[in-house]
């Protein structure tokens, strides 16, 4: 009997210890997943905290209203870069928003036609292509043909980077608008364009604005395509066909310079940029989740 029982006992024992190992593996791996989530938050907090800590000291009213000073001359600000960023991003919006919104209506109405598929494929491609490639593209289109760097070429590069973001968000938001609204408008005899402008667009408006804000937040922080399009400019300029300073490019120039006071200015400029971008991002995402709840709940 003893000899017959012991293999059973042994199996029971094995099963129990196997169960225990499985439990331990389970606990350990799940804890590691939680730890991973913690790890992801560390760089964000570290970056934000450090930028605020280093940047806040150099901030003053002068920093926003003065032009940059040469190396070694104290004071000075980034007025030219703030205005420059506003101009370049403004150009990007002026090109990108009308095209993206109109194209989004096409994709919404006819997603499975040849052109619809091509548009969706193109937005996927555009959103995946590195931003520096868009810089080269804008360079070949504007700078090579005109012979000089310009605010316009920078705005053009940013417009292409912004387009897939605005187009995609607009399309998604239009899809969330209840079909009954559209059918109702069409049934009352409204033309397609009236339905689009007076019914669909207002219903999706806050989502569309979210997309635009996310797009702006993304391109306002782009330094790579600015290197050889907008190029940077130490002086104040609002001319569209001249080189112009932008915030991210200014940070880059200050950061890789060997001068201590320029490096300090890099942190202060970074604080301005990060406040701008994060502010836009947080507002946009807040509006988006509110809008989605509103439309889904209806």
């Amino acid at each position: 009997m003893e000899s017959a029982l012991s293999p059973v006992r042994a199996a029971q024992h094995r099963a129990r210890s196997n169960y225990r190992t499985r439990q331990i593996v389970n606990r350990v791996m799940l804890a590691l997943c939680g730890l991973a989530a913690l790890i992801a938050v560390i760089p964000l907090v570290w970056i934000l905290g450090y930028v605020v800590q280093r940047g806040v000291g150099a901030l003053s009213l002068d920093f926003f209203t003065q032009l940059p000073t040469p190396v070694g001359v104290p004071g000075g600000g980034i007025l030219n870069a703030i205005v420059g960023s506003a101009i370049v991003v403004g150009i990007a919006c002026a090109i990108s928003i009308p095209v993206s919104l109109t194209a989004a209506f096409y994709v919404y109405a006819r997603p499975n036609t040849l052109l619809g598929t091509l548009i969706r494929f193109s937005t996927d491609v555009l959103s995946g292509v590195p931003s520096i490639i868009m810089g080269i593209f804008a360079y070949t289109v504007f700078v090579l043909t005109q012979g000089h760097f310009s605010a316009l070429s920078g705005g053009f590069a940013l417009a292409i980077i912004m387009t897939p973001i605005v187009l995609r968000t607009t399309e998604e938001m239009l899809k969330l608008v209840p079909k009954t609204l559209r059918d109702g408008s069409l049934a009352l005899g409204a033309a397609d364009w009236r339905t689009a402008l007076n019914v669909l667009l207002p219903a999706a408006m806050s989502g569309v604005i979210t997309g635009i804000m996310l797009g702006i937040a993304r391109v306002a922080g782009e330094a790579a395509p600015m290197l050889f399009t907008a190029f940077g400019n130490p002086f104040f300029s609002t001319a569209l066909d001249q080189p112009i300073a932008t915030l991210p490019h200014q940070i880059y120039v200050y950061a890789i310079s060997p001068y201590r006071d320029w490096q300090d200015k890099a942190w202060a400029t970074a604080l301005v940029l990060i406040a701008l971008v994060m502010g836009l991002e947080i507002i946009a995402r807040g509006v988006a989740s509110w809008q989605e709840r509103k439309l889904r709940g209806r």
Binding site: L115, V125, L126, A191, A224, F228, Y252, I274
Partner: protein, 328 residues
Amino acid sequence: MSVIAEIKRQKRNSPWSELVRRIEHGDVIFRTLTVVAGLLVVLVTAATGFELWQNSALARAKFGLDFLTGTNWDPVIEDFGALPFLYGTIQTSIFALLIAVPIGLGIAIFLSELAPAWLRQPLGFLVELLAAVPSVIFGLWGLYVFVPSVVKPFAQFLNDNLGFLPIFQGPVFGPSRLAATLILSIMVLPTLVAISRDVFLAIPNAQREGALGLGATQWEMITQNLIPYGLSGILGAIILALGRAMGETIAVTMVIGNNLDLSASLLHPGYTMASIIANEFTEATTDLYREALIEIGLVLFALTLLVNIIARLLVWRVARRIPTEARA
């Protein structure tokens, strides 16, 4: 039939009045506008590739396919080869993914399966906020904070303990491919997490209940059911993150050390395709020099295009498949 009625009928049916009527209705204009805008988007995409191709003609003619295998990059004698940059791009992005994928999947699992409901939204939001930090600020932080305080000691540690491996051979530098790799692994996390979390969330609950009902632990349910079920979507997320890592420019340029180097060691300074373009494009004084840089851009464009198409196919497949199976 009266003459007047006949004239009216003809007038109504003439092509011209038909056109006027349609234009007054407005939809012709609206539809034309949407088609034009759509075509613009498609054209710009095609034009990007075309311009890169067109503007690298000189370099392509001179170096041919040897451009991809040439190891020399000397603007003075105008001898250009892209191998060091190709190598740097691929090495840093692959190693970045080796670090980021386990962490990213861990976060995605935590967000979709484990976290209490009140934590999911805020934590997901924080991870997405990481994507909003501009690249140049990653670079600034990397150059002055992360590299001296984390990367350099870590590199020293790796060299001391694992220095016999070719990838950890010294001497130890601060700015290095390791620095770029670590920064990239942070920067691609949001992409990885956002997509793979959505993949996990799209998996029907029956999969979970089935596994748990058969006595699987939660971890076994995740590894044996959920991950195989969502595999193509997760692969898509990984490949999409690979595309991000390959194209990342400014942050990498600031921490990689910018040095032509073909050694296996991660601890040496290196160069990537994006960072050579960022560094030297405005200094390119001759046509051939500039076109060689544009050709590097062309190669980078082709690589990211390929990677994105593969990723989209994978993500689309899982997105198309899950709803039908969820209903069944």
